[in-house]
């Protein structure tokens, strides 16, 4: 049984069919990629699987359990963590608070603890602090813990998002263009971090990328999407040589 399975998922925005008959099977500890031209529906697929939209048809199963109709926060709690294409950080919260916030559903002290500052709350917050610091160390920014995120450089903000997604204890981590807008140096650091995270936590990763270098080096299996449909699926080598993929990216050769 695959860790995460998507069966025959189709989604319409009004009359527009954004995703058509999409299938996916992510195995444990697998790194998968999703590529495709702009507007192919990559982010829509992420949003559908993580519950931001609910698909018109089809099912999403996590460890055999149907999560299609659950709310985003419940799906996140079950083990689908994600980052966003355009950073979605909380403007006035510190880096540490970002990571701690992703532990929301794991906190058990409840409102009584929040209101009255019980011993249980104090202990849990301390434990969460420690865990958040560990994650910040994993992504290499423990020294920025007390900073407000808006003061950070772009690369560091990306890392905060990654640490935050990891704090939800994901079984599958969804990365939506993790290296978008990065310079070559930051890119290499980010790839190192993704590899380290994969090695140390041992989770499955599903990522959208535009840079072929990143996809080809990191992913075991790549899907190519065009107009909401998967047109090719296979190892990096197979995808690189697939005529359909080349056509989707570069267009058809026209004989004049």
């Amino acid at each position: 049984m695959p860790l995460l399975e998507v069966r025959k998922m189709t989604h319409y925005f009004g009359g527009l069919r954004a995703v058509n008959n999409y299938n996916l099977a992510v195995e444990r500890e697998q790194v998968r990629g999703l590529i495709g031209p702009n507007g192919a529906g990559k982010t829509t697929i992420f949003n559908l699987i993580t519950g931001v939209y609910h698909p018109t048809e089809g099912n999403i199963l996590l460890e055999g359990e149907d999560i299609t109709r659950l709310e985003t926060n419940q799906i996140a709690d079950r083990g689908l963590g994600r980052t966003f294409q355009n950073l979605r950080l909380w403007r006035y919260l510190s880096v540490l608070d970002h990571v701690k916030m992703a532990r929301y559903s794991k906190l058990t002290y409840g409102l009584a603890g929040a209101f009255f500052g019980t011993a249980k709350r104090v202990n849990e917050e301390k434990a969460t602090d420690a865990l958040a610091m560990e994650l910040l160390e994993l992504v290499g920014i423990p020294h920025l813990a007390d900073q407000i995120v808006t003061n950070l450089p772009y690369g560091a903000q990306r890392r905060v998002e990654l640490a935050r997604a990891l704090a939800t204890e994901p079984k599958v981590l969804f990365l939506d263009e993790p290296t978008a807008g990065m310079n070559p140096e930051e890119l290499i650091q980010m790839m190192d971090i993704i590899r380290r995270v994969h090695r140390e936590i041992g989770l499955a990763i599903f990522l959208i990328e535009h840079r072929m270098k990143v996809v080809m080096e990191l992913c075991e299996i790549i899907q190519t999407l065009n107009f909401g449909e998967v047109i090719a699926e296979g190892t990096p080598e197979e995808i690189r040589n697939n005529p359909l993929v080349i056509e989707a990216y570069l267009g058809k050769e026209v004989v004049l």
Partner: protein, 443 residues
């Protein structure tokens, strides 16, 4: 080569430097020192205040640090200033400065005790200061209580408008619910000879059961808040503001048409249970609980919902529960504040909870600072004081206060003290530790 003119301080920098130099000796004064100094000052006022005021040509002690005199009898301003310097500024300055080594030693010792004990000691001192200060006149007692009620209201509104970033206008409605429920409760149970008949319980029990009335009022307000909280799941911003404004008017017309609670005439003769210590205790409780909440990860979820709701929900935050909690929690405290308000004034009518009350409490929140407990306290106390000072202007004060608010919005859009965390532990610490190396060298 750097330009010479760049190294010349501007007037503003020079003033800042001078002020900072003046403040230098007071840096190592812990909170305990300031409280002790304030105690001395109010004690002096109690002992020699009246003769001094008479000598300076005033008929009585200036009630609100002279705030009332400024517009009423401008000729007295110099004597008021002299009075303030002799009674408040000089004693506080001298005592705070010269007891600093002593108070720091005590503060250092208190650190090793549990926080509760330290907090209680500070609060007792603070209350003593307040009590002695209020002993001078009944007017002070009234203003102090209204200021503290304003603190509860402002803080609770800040939870929704500041911490969660919604623009809720329903606070006077919640306050009205709390005020009416608490009033009816005390009038039915503890007061004879009114529209509700004889007292059901011996009136002597009243003061002890008064918290029950307040909590009941708070709970009813929280139930009312459901009407605003549920639409907040689907809509934000302007639309929610309009819904909450509608709620306020619904509550107001409800009480205007409810003859059993006096209709537009309102209810009066509430028992005098909201005395200074009672209001003080409730204010401390409210600050403590609200501050606990907003500093927890559960409470910071409000910020996450405000800054990016999608990101919050993708990070396992239950946004519905968060919004519900914020609205109900804020409404509860508004209800409690309403109950206290009714028992301080001992007369309420639906008009007390209208658009003017809304303007007042919104002004306090935005003046003091969004997302900040300290800001709310400053805003509530500050605006209560300003409002009293402008009283001689009567209705024109409602031109001055909005203009002030507009200026604040232009120059400090988030308020005076915004986006800070109120760290109670740090508040009580001794203050002489900063230049540690220097101190060790001299020892």
């Amino acid at each position: 080569m750097t330009t010479i003119s760049a190294s010349w301080p501007t007037t503003r920098q020079r003033i800042r430097a001078a002020l900072s130099k003046l403040w230098q000796p007071y840096r190592p004064v812990p909170l305990l020192g300031w409280l002790l100094a304030a105690l001395v000052a109010v004690g002096m006022e109690q002992l020699v205040g009246l003769p001094l005021a008479r000598t300076l040509g005033m008929s009585k002690i200036p009630a609100l640090f002279g705030a009332l005199v400024v517009l009423d009898q401008p000729a007295l301003i110099p004597s008021v200033l002299l009075f303030l310097i002799l009674i408040y500024i000089l004693p506080v300055g001298i005592v705070a400065r010269f007891t600093a080594p002593f108070t720091n030693k005590i503060a250092a010792r208190l650190v090793s005790y549990p926080l509760v004990i330290t907090a209680v000691i500070h609060l007792l001192l603070l209350y003593a200061v307040l009590h002695i200060w209020c002993d001078i006149s009944d007017y002070r007692v009234l203003v102090a209580r209204m200021a503290m009620i304003a603190i509860i209201l402002t803080l609770s509104l800040n939870v929704v408008n500041g911490y969660m970033g919604e623009f809720s206008c329903s606070h006077p409605g919640f306050m009205a619910l709390g005020a009416y429920v608490a009033s009816v409760f005390t009038l039915v149970f503890f007061v004879s000879e009114n529209q509700f008949g004889e007292a059901l319980v011996p009136p002597a029990l009243g003061p002890f059961l008064f918290p029950l009335a307040l909590i009941l009022g708070g709970l009813v307000a929280a139930v009312g808040a459901l009407l605003v909280a549920i639409p907040s799941f689907r809509t934000r911003g302007d639309y929610l503001a309009i819904i909450s404004l509608a709620f306020m008017f619904i509550v107001k017309s409800l009480f205007e048409n409810l003859e059993i609670v006096g209709g537009a005439r309102g209810i009066s003769n509430q028992p005098n249970y909201a005395s200074l210590p009672v209001v003080f205790a409730w204010t401390v409780l409210a600050i403590w609980i609200i501050n606990n909440f907003v500093r927890s990860t559960m409470g910071k979820a409000l910020n996450a919902v405000r800054d990016d709701e999608l990101a919050a929900t993708a990070m396992t935050v239950d946004t519905r529960k968060t919004k519900m909690t914020a609205f109900l929690f804020a409404a509860f405290w508004a209800g409690v504040a309403g109950g206290l308000f009714a028992h301080v004034l001992r007369y309420i009518n639906p008009d007390s909870f209208g658009i003017r009350k809304l303007a007042e409490v919104l002004a306090m929140v935005y003046f003091g600072g969004l997302n900040s407990v300290t800001g709310s306290i400053v805003g509530a106390v500050g605006l209560t004081m300003i409002s009293e000072a402008l009283r001689p202007l009567e209705i024109y004060k409602w031109i001055i206060i909005p203009i002030m608010l507009i200026l604040i919005m232009i120059f400090r859009p988030t308020g005076l003290i915004a986006f800070t965390e109120f760290n109670v532990e740090r508040l009580f610490l001794p203050k002489d530790k900063a230049p540690e190396g220097a101190e060790d060298a001299t020892a």
